[in-house]
């Protein structure tokens, strides 16, 4: 029986982490107790992560209503108001057809191509994917298009690799097509390792079939019959949903032999990564699939010529594949209407950090950073001052306020010294220390270096040592110059993207925030108040009433003082944890 009432709850990893399963249980109980006839489904991530847990109710009465900021405790009241009293509570409405909710604007600024199904369909249902034109592109390709037609279409669309390098996708497919061999492979790089990035995870959890369909079309285009999706093990839900999608696609005859009755065969295996960031680099990824240590190899030869087990291989990122079916169905020209001249289409960004509306957004290329952060993102939390935005994770760079009007496209961003990257966008305010951020990223890349190249292996270690010294107040004159010199050498002396881009965060922070480095080195201060060795917590005499709250809160017993007398912090013992400041109700603890 067709249900005219449908309830969808966002249950991707973010939704679950925010308590989505408890909400689901409460909803189930309510529906049972009140005998409400409704279809209850999970859906993926709609991208408004800051408002999780999200629940959408679709019914004849009110159309579509999206409730957000939900806890299990809110459910009974909300459902009662919606179904029993027919007077929905508006405080929790994020957006709706008939009941207001101004947050729709955030979606209006976006152009959702890659995320077209995320948050809309049940990702474990192939039928729902098909209902929204799923696998129609594959059908069109198998029936009416030759491999060359497909490649031309993708070339015309202007689609560039969304993994970060931005290489023209159609051209990449062409190279693999041109190389003849008895076996060719198609690989999806789902090893999204950049800290701060979760675009791919959302697509894999929310719309896995879009990736499968993209890979199928690529395989047809280049002449491959075997594919792998290399998904990082830290995404268990994504791996699970991918495996379900593969099974369901097989059942429908979209994978395996004689797909859709044609003579095109394609088998797909989901391969789990084992916890190595460097395996996001394509040659290391292929070594990993071959069962070896993930150590990058020389290019040329490029994978299109000699990749997995020496055969021509096409590797693309999750987001790249996700665009393919849409392009085939709607045409390259339509896709090329979005974006700029050299950067067509849209880009999904993971907006995080000190931003009000944190989450996933998909915007047309060419929108300025300012608009992404302030219009779509809602601006800085507590309306504090914007300091920088980090793009591209540990391979990327920091962009300061003066460059906020830079349009988001490959070339404009590269000019600033940063990169587009895979889409991680971490917003920082005046409470973030840029030297600490550089140290943070270098710590990460140093850990993840595979060790093959001397400059990457030892160079990043030396840079990290210098940055550690600087943040500990032991910086020396000449440190900045050494960092710059080492950076240039590491870039030159590294075989793969990890080493070649590891110095970027350091170089861009020195370029735009040199004064902060100088403050740390010359004045031994941390202007943002972050670096522990350079800050001090002090109790202000005039404000302290001697209540002892700080003394009790201190984990290392660094505070002394009698009741009703001014307390003092022993700077030698203090670990700068800040518990005293949090505990004090009289604003008597100051951070210098």
């Amino acid at each position: 029986m067709e249900n005219s009432v449908r309830i969808k709850i966002g249950l991707a990893s973010c939704g679950i982490a925010a308590g989505g399963l408890d909400v689901l249980e409460k909803v189930e109980n309510f529906l049972k107790e009140h005998d409400v006839d409704a279809q209850l489904d999970h859906t993926g991530c709609i991208g408004m992560c800051y408002a999780e847990v999200l629940m959408e109710i679709e019914d004849d009465e009110f159309g579509s209503t999206m409730y957000g900021y939900l806890n299990a405790a809110d459910i009974d009241d909300i459902l009662n108001a919606h179904f029993v009293e027919k007077k929905p509570l508006t405080e929790h409405i994020v957006f709706s057809d008939k009941l207001g909710g101004k947050e729709k604007e955030i979606l209006d600024y976006q152009t959702r191509i890659v995320l077209r199904n995320c948050g809309v369909i049940d990702p474990e249902s192939i039928d729902e994917y098909i209902e929204r034109s799923g696998y129609e592109a594959l059908q069109k390709v198998l029936k009416d298009m030759s491999p060359v037609d497909v490649i031309d279409e993708i070339k015309e669309s202007g689609l560039r690799g969304r993994g970060g390098a931005g290489f023209p996708t159609g051209l990449k497919w062409q190279f693999a097509y041109n190389n003849s061999a008895d076996k060719k492979y198609v690989i999806c790089n789902a090893d999204e390792g950049d800290p701060g990035a979760f675009m791919d995870r959302s697509v894999l959890e929310g719309d896995p079939h879009s990736v499968l369909e993209g890979m199928l079309i690529a395989a047809y285009a280049i002449g491959s019959d075997t594919g792998y999706i290399y998904c990082r093990a830290e995404y268990p839900l994504a791996v699970k949903r991918l495996r379900i999608a593969v099974e369901k696609a097989k059942e429908k005859g979209f994978l395996g032999s004689n797909i859709m009755g044609s003579d095109f065969n394609f088998d797909l295996t989901v391969y789990e990564g084992a916890g190595a960031f460097v395996c996001g680099e394509e040659t290391a990824l292929m070594c990993s699939i071959e069962g070896k240590r993930g150590m990058p190899t020389f290019r040329p030869p490029y994978p299109a010529e000699s990749g997995l087990w020496g055969k021509p291989t096409n590797i693309n990122n999750v987001e790249t594949y996700s665009n393919v079916a849409w392009i085939i169905r709607n045409g390259a020209k339509k896709y090329a209407e979005f974006g700029t001249e050299k950067s067509k289409g849209t880009k999904v960004f993971a907006l995080t950090g000190k931003i009000k509306n944190g989450g996933l957004v998909e915007v047309p290329m060419g929108m300025t950073l300012r608009d992404v952060i302030y219009k779509v993102g809602g601006g800085i939390i507590e309306d504090r001052k914007f300091k920088a935005v980090q793009l591209g994770g540990p391979s990327g760079g920091c962009i300061p306020e003066s460059l906020l009007d830079t349009p988001v496209d490959y070339d404009s961003l590269t000019k600033t010294g940063a990169i587009m990257g895979s889409g991680g966008m971490v917003v920082m305010d005046d409470t973030t220390c840029m030297v600490d951020m550089a140290r943070f990223f270098l710590n990460f890349t140093q850990n993840e270096s595979c060790g093959k190249c001397t400059f990457c292996r030892i160079g990043t270690k030396r840079m990290l040592e210098i940055l550690n010294r600087i943040t500990q107040g032991k910086g020396e004159s000449g440190d900045i110059e050494i960092l710059e010199d080492l950076s240039r050498k590491i870039i030159k002396g590294s075989l793969c993207g990890l080493g070649q881009t590891a110095p970027n965060p350091v170089l861009t922070t020195i370029k735009y925030f040199r004064d902060e480095y100088e403050a740390h080195i010359n004045d031994k201060t941390c202007p943002a108040g972050v670096c522990k060795d350079l800050i001090k917590y002090l109790i202000i005499e005039d404000k302290c009433i001697g209540c002892g709250a700080c003394k009790r809160a201190c984990p290392v017993d660094a505070i002394t003082g009698e009741k009703k007398e001014v307390h003092t912090i022993n700077q030698d013992i203090c670990t700068k944890c800040g518990a005293c400041m949090t505990a004090c109700k009289f604003d008597a603890v100051k951070k210098l």
Binding site: I16, P195, F198, E272, G275, E290, Q390, F444, C577
Partner: protein
């Protein structure tokens, strides 16, 4: 290792018979069955697959997922990605180490929990985040830690 352990490894190897490049999934499934990769387990796999032990050891030590020591019943992963770092993940780590009395990467004496710091769990909008086994907990503060641990 006991006989049933060897049987478990045999079952894993059987699943991947004839499939080239399967060393990593073999090690993953072996670890899932036995909890960690012991020297004996790796030597046994080497004998059966004819892959040199040195190569297996090289692969096992390259990837952070593989453990060569027994781990706790529940694995806690503390996210130290960029967004979590900016949201003070350090405080959460300190609270956990304090509460469970372990070092980073260590296991509690009663083998209930293993705690490790990882680079990014991909739930950045809910920073700071930890994962216990497959469940993610977001929007954390040190005060919430005790209650979460009590669930296990």
């Amino acid at each position: 290792m006991v006989e049933s352990d060897f049987d478990k490894i045999d079952a894993v190897l059987h699943e991947f018979e004839g499939r080239k490049g399967s060393l990593i999934p073999i090690l993953q499934k072996t670890q899932a069955q036995l909890g960690f990769l012991s020297k004996e387990a790796m030597e046994y796999i080497s004998g059966k697959t004819k892959i040199p032990v040195s190569e297996i050891y090289g692969v096992a030590t390259f990837y952070t997922q593989f453990r060569m020591h027994p781990i706790g019943k529940n694995i806690i992963r503390i996210c130290h990605g960029t967004a979590c770092h900016v949201a003070n993940a350090r405080k959460i780590s300190e609270a956990l180490y304090e509460e469970l009395k372990v070092e980073p990467g260590g296991t509690t004496k009663n083998l209930k929990f293993t705690v490790e710091e990882v680079a990014c769990l991909g739930c950045c909008s809910l920073a700071p985040v930890i994962m216990i086994n497959d469940k993610a907990y977001g929007r954390l503060t040190p005060s919430k830690i005790k209650d979460i641990l009590a669930q296990y």
